[in-house]
Symmetry: C2
Subunit: 459 residues, 2 copies
């Protein structure tokens, strides 16, 4: 329990009905912490506590609750209360919440809000999932370029309660085009009579409203920004994405990569629920497509074994099938290692396929060669001494392993880079996909080596 | 090229020798952007440009260069110049840099620094890699609890140039114990005559110096912090970790998870180089251990095939080996999907093995059952119609696939949870590991089904 020590105290205060004491108790903690406490309360008590709080504080805490809790809460409220709550919530969070309500209910609530707020929510919910527009917020602070630093600070003091952040302010011209940013720190340090345009950061880093949200998060990480301004095609400022949202986006996107690498079809930007909370049927749906495709690959490998199986007659007394798991296992394992390394490089921007294609493949194939030069002889020893194979067949196994290691690393590095070149997310190139690709082709290497050794060594 | 448009302009200014123009040109961009431009210059020009800059600006830009560039630069400087540079750099970045210099060179440079600075660097380099201490910085701003808001702001104005951030200040008592935090935003909004202790956030979220750095980054994400205070065992404030460092840590740790999931042995906190830049021999070392272990697993699967192989005699005319790749492939793929899902849940904190152990396994096994109920019949059709198997053997394949799907999902969910319970990082449970674990056991299911069908249906 994350709040095992605090929760009983809070519940005692609630059951005693001391409104002021509950408020004071909560105020000692930051909003995210208060939200955790409230999530851990039984539903009835959680609502009672929220009702005790001052509207702005309530709205901020609600924005930290997980979306399911928020929904549950809003569905129990009257439309008037819900509208009041939405009014004070951060603009990105309330848009996400409204986007999850059913349309009739959302309409009822929106009708109770001022025109400007209603339009703001509608606009934010309309951006396509996964874009900068879908994650930005509109409650940012702007300052004109021609005011003094002192005036700007006074202005921000007044604006602060309605803004998600005043740590960075955005300087816009009379057409709302973005011309600069200025941090609160810079304002505090500047001469009070200086003009904002003389102390602002001109031509700031920005993103476009249609940009990929992962791109946005990466920019924030790269330039250590507190907030990244989002502009529309005419360079008008339409929103901002804050550093804490960037953290959430990166966590979601990177955990998406892990799922995809395991061959689960998942899009963090589209998914409503956490994969752990979804119904079994959703889980089946996410996995079935890949599993079916890979099943087809396995069937093809079976056909390969069937087709080339005649080769085994040339090695009397040796059961080829004993070695199939070892050979395809080694190929799959080496390929998985490589694909993981290359996908990571692509995700972090260290590998650019247009620049590095040949270099990366050569590097990986060489790594495979080194690994094969150790595993091959081990395969020889295992086949000869443990499984009682002939020296010639043991040599077949050793050479096949060597070839498979080189081949698997080559395929494992090439496929994700090709995916990126043809604009497919390389993260869909999963470990199972590479394993399956290498299964059939790896066995062909094996059968070919077996044939060649038979032809040139044994006859 | 990220700076294709700017770079020629900058180089022209440099070759013209206009120091002031170069400075002005660069000052238009944020430090991270300036660092990119400088990284893209030829080595000689980069140094020349840095020499033109004001010391503090230079130190900040250098802190944004990648570590290899930093090293190259410092190795060419005189110890006196290097000491001057380090004096102005963020404390965490300079400690990382000194940690990478060779010991003699570091000693030469440190000897030119003031005692306090030298001790600070030594202390920071001594924390074990991967701990909060190893990523924290010591250039944070503190304020006493009893001063007024106005005095605090005046104090911060003076401190700002030497501090990495004044966005959050840390309130400490006379023994330097952490008693609160206060944001610059809160100071600006507070009444100037209020006392700091009355407006600060008391009892703030904190981390301990020995905590895992991933834990630290996760706290910053969870509570939307700008900076997390780090305390020693006696609750004395010893450093802070900022939001931008949290982003970097999460990116590194999560890309580490991807590598480990592909069975590459990698520790982001320990690694000096990016895996894409490492020598082939390092790559081989990172992969060989797992590959060898999994090779052993493949060999064991071979022994299983050899041992149970006699069962095939009861199905005359059917080549068992044709179906081995399909069976072990399906097990490996289903297992990889599950292990990816469960590792993700564990990493995000959605799955707690002590609470969810049975529930998660049941859920995954049920998902496997659903998938097997579709793939099994497909296997029947493939075996009967495509490969010309008997109805009885086709039934064997169908039931084996069903059993393997349930089994693979069970194993794939159990193993990472057990790893967490015995305090092993679940991310070391890779897709290839689960595939290999399921290979031998999956085939045992197949042979057992074949025996049972033969005994009860065919005789």
């Amino acid at each position: 329990m994350r709040n095992a020590l605090l929760l009983p105290d809070l519940r005692e205060l609630i059951s005693d009905g001391h409104a002021a004491a509950v408020r004071e108790f909560l105020e000692d903690y930051p909003p995210a912490r208060q939200a955790e406490l409230i999530e851990d309360l039984p539903a009835g008590e959680a609502e009672a506590v929220l009702r005790l709080l001052e509207p702005r504080a309530r709205a901020e805490i609600v924005s930290y609750l997980d979306l399911d809790h928020q929904l549950e809460l809003v569905e129990k409220m009257t439309p008037v209360d819900a509208a009041a709550l939405l009014r004070d919530m951060p603009h990105d969070d309330r848009a996400d919440l409204v986007g999850r309500l059913d349309a009739d209910r959302a309409e009822l609530i929106l009708r109770r809000m001022a025109q400007a707020e209603r339009d703001d929510i509608r606009r934010l919910t309309e951006y396509e999932a996964g874009t900068a527009g879908s994650v930005m917020t509109t409650d940012y602070a702007t300052v004109p370029p021609f005011v003094s630093v002192r005036e700007a600070i006074d202005h921000l003091r007044k604006e602060a309660p309605d803004r998600e952040t005043i740590l960075t302010s955005f300087v816009v011209d009379h057409q709302r085009r973005l011309i600069g940013t200025i941090s609160l720190q810079a304002l505090i340090l500047a001469r009070p009579t200086a003009r904002v345009e003389d102390v602002m950061q001109a031509d700031p880093i920005r993103a476009h409203v249609e940009d990929d949200r992962e791109e946005v998060a990466r920019k924030i990480a790269q330039y250590d920004l507190l907030a990244l301004p989002i502009v529309d095609p005419s360079e008008m400022l339409v929103g901002i994405v804050t550093h804490d949202d960037a953290l959430d986006i990166l966590r979601e996107e990177q955990s998406e990569d892990l799922l995809r690498f395991g061959a689960v079809d998942y899009d963090a930007a589209e998914a409503d629920d956490d994969p752990g909370e979804e119904g079994i049927m959703t889980a089946v749906k996410r996995r079935f497509g890949w599993l079916l495709l890979l099943f087809g690959g396995g069937a093809i490998t079976g056909v390969v074994v069937n087709t080339f199986g005649g080769v085994s007659a040339r090695y009397p007394g040796i059961k080829f099938e004993t070695f199939i798991p070892l050979l395809i296992g080694t190929g799959g394992n080496a390929g998985s290692q490589t694909v993981g390394t290359v996908i990571r490089g692509l995700a972090l921007g260290d590998v650019d396929p247009r620049r590095d294609f040949a270099r990366v493949i050569a590097r990986e194939a060489l790594t495979g060669l080194c690994l094969g030069l150790v595993l091959g002889p081990l395969g020889f020893v295992f086949t000869w001494l443990v499984m009682g194979g002939t020296p010639a067949f043991s040599l077949v196994i050793a050479l096949a392993i060597l070839g498979i290691c080189v081949w698997a690393n080559g395929v494992g590095s090439m496929v994700p880079m090709v995916a990126r070149l043809v604009k497919i997310d390389p993260a869909v190139v999963s470990a199972p996909l590479i394993s399956t690709l290498v299964d059939a082709t790896g066995l062909m290497i094996f059968y070919t080596v077996a044939r060649l050794i038979h032809r040139y060594l044994l006859t």
